[in-house]
């Protein structure tokens, strides 16, 4: 999980605010009209990542993974116009900056939330309680499954099966011996999971939760984000409307 646990400006914000800003930011990436606007969005993402005290190593890794795509979109078209993609430099720059902005904002905001806050925030922005619950539940399942996987790997090693990649052919031959029990161990949980949901009253209608009001600073941040998206939308739509 991205959560760093570090105190920051964003850590203290209401989870609903963080989800709504994240959604608005994603919308804005799709509608901003030019690469200059996208550069602004990227810088804003950078500010959020810094003020959220996001894990820098992780950010660097994520950007590294997407380097081939960014290279293909920006650098190669800049070198010659007869490249197979035939994408224009400006377009490539806009879409690449969008890619970077999405990573910055995502890592930045989600590194400030615990699992329970993620779920609370989702419920707060109107996601049905059962779907929001599923997100938290899936995290529990992932951690428990990782623990199961560790046991499967240990069992495989105790059986004397080589699952290191030093010998690639042996590794490939032995992977099913690791993979099959791993899959079965996770799926085997199905019955108990359903039993747990049944006995925790999952089928019953839950009591509606009373939510606390959003702090003023959060409301201001939301208003600012919404205004930015609306302005971007106007600029994007203006040429279309003019033509109409």
């Amino acid at each position: 999980m991205l959560n760093t646990g570090r105190p920051s400006f964003w850590r203290g914000r209401d989870p609903r605010t963080k989800w709504l800003i994240f959604i608005l930011f994603l919308v804005s990436i799709y509608i901003v009209p030019s690469w200059e606007w996208m550069l602004g969005a990227t810088l804003l993402g950078l500010v959020i990542a810094i003020t959220a005290r996001a894990p820098l190593g992780w950010l660097a890794l994520m950007l590294l993974i997407h380097t081939p795509t960014i290279l293909a979109l920006v650098v190669i078209p800049a070198l010659g116009s007869d490249f197979a993609l035939n994408a224009e430099f400006e377009f490539g720059l806009r879409i690449s900056l969008g890619w970077v902005a999405a990573i910055l904002i995502g890592v930045g905001l989600f590194s400030t939330m615990e699992v329970d806050e993620l779920v609370e925030g989702l419920q707060g922005v109107g996601v049905p309680q059962r779907f929001a619950f599923l997100v938290g539940y899936a995290f529990v399942l992932i951690y428990l499954s990782v623990s199961d996987l560790t046991k499967v790997i240990e069992s495989t090693r105790l059986k004397g099966i080589d699952i290191t990649i030093r010998k690639p052919l042996t590794f490939l031959r032995n992977v099913p011996r690791l993979f099959i029990p791993a899959l079965l161990t996770i799926v085997r949980r199905g019955g108990s999971m359903t039993a747990a949901l049944e006995t925790r009253g999952f089928e019953a209608v839950p009591t509606a939760q009373k939510r606390k009001p959003m702090p003023v600073i959060d409301l201001c941040l939301l208003a600012l984000s919404l205004a930015t998206v609306l302005v971007a939308l106007i600029f994007r739509m203006y040429p279309v409307l003019q033509q109409g």
């Binding site: 999405a102 059986k159 004397g160 359903t194």
Partner: protein
């Protein structure tokens, strides 16, 4: 003397079929999401091909679509994949095309299931399904680029074609074609579905009337109950009738595969809603519907929230309480089961199994149900945990509630229950007051149970006679020497502080320790999974084989026979001898009838026996058993004891790590205590018992009884001589 009621088959009522309930639908989403997410992790390391052609484990949803029926399960698979990708993004950060990609995952797999879900899962169908799902998903996801303007059309086409091939073929159809034959019949059964195309010659469920009359004030009762799981030809329950009375604990005992857990699930209202299957008979929850608290035998799988407090609060959400009331009641329930506020703040997965069990118990009692269904949870508890359980049960009964307690330890049944039912092959073989059922030598002998120590301990004389003593006293001949071994995990104090011992040929050493004493860590060190921080291990050439306490994660072949053969083959056994050696191992552990069975569907006890048999096949000179007694019924325990003694007699060494002192006393030549990272030799005196008690270990009544008669508990020779008298029983 109250007459003991003998059970017999009968049935009445109506047939129901398991349908896809909301909880089961959610379970499929959860399982798919977790599998897809875990599949994504290793593939993330593969660099993308420009632009946005990446590696995703499409084979997982394709396998699920191929094996599960079309319709609602397909919708759940689609939602599960979208959720898996969403979780990855929450953990790693968002990519540009992800929001629209979620829609793509859902549409692609819901459609794939709808189009291909009704067909038998052949390689051609799987290949087409793989291409189809990948194309639909890639098309929708790549359309997000079009939002940037018409210049992106080239990227859109390239990404769609590239990902169709990459996801649909490389990471889709090819691995799915390899996996489906090995998973067919397993996934479906675990998720509560029948196998496509299989015509099961099912034994019909009988509909008859036994005339069973429950007590008028019964909190709950079942009458003439038959049940069969999907894909299973034989019924698991065959005409079970029993009632649960206010203020009473009904113990449910029986050998593996008797149907105890199935009966619990039906009484708890979980089956067949959660599992599917056919049911005939009546299940009544008293005159008014009662809330039921249910704790399954695998507590970790019962957890739905991240922290103990929220887990217990979740069980109260449907009661219409205010947030403050819920928190108060949840805190009280956690206090009742001795979970500290600090433990309640930790993540659920960081808690040891015994505490997870306590959280599940707190969640079960928090809603103040009339009926508690507890499926074999006492076995893994320490002395303090057992005391908590007794207190919770007593408090529940005082308020007029009833308890159905699955338990195979006759001593615990003796102390905890008012009535006991013995279940065998899905039938109630015997039911009546505890003191009468547990005194019935004839009925208990068939499934291998002894009578409780508090009655008479002469049954102990029939325990295996000491077959092997230490063959040598010379340390030079030791098969394994552990010398001042120390080990600590990176995030805490040393688990093993200074452990030294040696195992000689023919010797069986018992190391007893409570939960958290370091038994599993020591087993891992002995097996070479962990490197000691300091100290050394010296072993002879034959090596060390370890049986870990969870057999379910061990098997990778489709049958037990193939599993044993595969280990024999790797151990260098000549192919001409494999069949003979396999038959020998199977007969030692009574596995002849299950050699062709899928290990995934064995009862826990049988799986444990198969695990030990398979481990012995590798020809190691030293066998390490970690909690080998857990989950075994009495007959299976005897088999393990006999097989281990036979193994030792052949000149091997055995180290048994367990919290079950009685099991170790039956098994080992000498017993030491593992406590706070050090070994302490035990002489079997009252002083030792005091120390063990302080170490949070459960002292079995048979050992207390033996000590009263001046007998040591550290050797099975002496334990076998223990014979109590009714007067001593009364004293206990």
């Amino acid at each position: 003397m109250t007459p003991v009621t003998r059970g017999h088959s009968s049935a009445r009522g109506q047939v129901q079929s398991g349908e896809l309930s909301a909880s089961r639908f959610t379970m499929i989403i959860g399982v798919t999401a977790v599998l897809f997410f875990l599949g994504l992790l290793p593939l993330e390391a593969i660099p993308e091909i420009p632009v946005d052609i990446d590696s995703k484990p499409f084979f997982i949803p394709i396998v699920l679509c191929a094996l599960l029926p079309a319709g609602k399960p397909g919708v759940a698979i689609g939602l599960g994949v979208a959720l898996g990708e969403f979780l990855r993004d929450l953990m790693e950060g968002y990519e540009l095309d992800d929001p629209i990609g979620f829609v793509g995952y859902f549409v692609a797999f819901a459609l794939t299931s709808y189009v291909f879900g009704k067909r038998p899962p052949g390689w051609f169908t799987i290949t087409i399904a793989g291409l189809f799902s990948a194309f639909v998903q890639a098309l929708i996801e790549a359309s997000s680029f079009l939002l940037f303007g018409e210049e992106s059309f080239g990227i859109f086409v390239q990404s769609t074609i590239g990902n169709t091939i990459m996801h649909g073929v490389v990471w889709g159809a090819i691995p799915a074609c390899l996996l489906v034959p090995r998973l067919k019949g397993r996934f479906e059964r675990y998720l509560g579905f029948g196998v496509k195309g299989d015509v099961v010659a099912a034994e019909p469920l009988q509909v008859a009337f036994s005339g069973f009359t429950p007590a008028p004030d019964a909190v709950a009762w079942v009458s003439d109950l038959w049940f069969r799981y999907p894909s299973s030809a034989q019924p698991t329950l065959r005409g079970v009738s029993l009632d649960l009375r206010p203020g009473e604990v009904l113990g449910l005992m029986g050998p593996s595969h008797a149907g105890k857990s199935t009966l619990c699930r039906i009484v708890a209202g979980v089956t067949p809603r959660a599992t599917g299957g056919e049911i005939v008979g009546q299940v009544q929850l008293g005159s008014n519907a009662v809330d039921i608290g249910y704790v399954a035998d695998s507590p970790a799988a019962m957890m739905t929230r991240t922290h103990a407090l929220s887990e217990v609060e979740a069980a109260l959400e449907h009661l219409g309480l205010t947030s403050e009331e819920r928190q108060k009641r949840a805190s009280d329930a956690l206090t009742e089961v001795a979970i500290t506020p600090e433990e309640a703040r930790r993540y659920i997965w960081e808690l040891p199994t015994s505490l997870q069990m306590m959280v599940a118990l707190a969640a079960a009692v928090a809603s103040r149900p009339k009926l508690l269904v507890l499926d074999e949870l006492a076995g893994c508890l320490s002395a303090s945990g057992l005391a908590v359980l007794k207190r919770v049960i007593a408090a529940h009964c005082e308020t007029g509630g009833a308890v159905l307690l699955v338990e195979n330890d006759v001593d615990r049944l003796w102390g905890l229950t008012q009535r006991v039912a013995l279940l065998e092959s899905g039938r109630v073989a015997l039911i009546g007051p505890t003191h009468e059922v547990l005194a019935d030598c004839e009925a208990l002998a068939a499934p291998g149970f002894t009578r409780p120590s508090a009655l008479l301990a002469q049954d102990l004389e029939s325990w295996p006679s000491p077959a092997c003593g230490p063959a040598s006293t010379s340390l030079d001949e030791a098969l394994l020497k552990v010398d001042h071994v120390r080990f600590g995990y990176s995030d805490g104090d040393d688990v093993l502080e200074d452990v030294s011992f040696a195992v000689r040929p023919g010797e069986v050493i018992g190391l007893v320790g409570a939960s958290g004493a370091g038994k599993t860590t020591l087993a891992k060190v002995l097996g070479g999974l962990l490197e000691p921080t300091s100290g050394s291990l010296a072993e002879k050439e034959a090596g060390v084989a370890v049986v870990m306490h969870e057999p379910t994660v061990f098997f990778s072949e489709v049958t037990i026979g193939k599993e044993i053969a595969s280990v024999l083959d790797r151990a260098g056994c000549p192919s001409s001898q494999i069949d003979t050696r396999r038959a020998d191992l199977a007969s030692r552990f009574g596995l002849e009838k299950v050699l062709e069975s899928d290990p995934s569907f064995l009862a826990p006890g049988t799986a444990k026996l198969a695990h030990i048999a398979t481990t012995l096949a590798n020809g190691a000179g030293v066998l390490v058993l970690d909690e080998a007694a857990a989950g075994l019924d009495p007959a299976e325990r005897r088999r393990v004891v006999e097989a281990v003694h036979a193994f030792a007699k052949e000149g091997a060494g055995v180290i048994a790590l367990d919290h079950d002192l009685e099991f170790l006393a039956q098994l080992a030549d000498r017993v030491s205590q593992l406590h706070e990272g050090r070994l302490r030799s035990l002489e079997g005196t009252s002083e030792d018992v005091r120390v063990l008690d302080e170490g949070n270990l459960v002292i079995p009544p048979s050992i207390s009884l033996g000590l009263k008669r001046g007998l040591s508990f550290t050797s099975r020779e002496e334990l076998a001589r223990i014979a109590g008298t009714p007067a001593e029983s009364a004293a206990l």
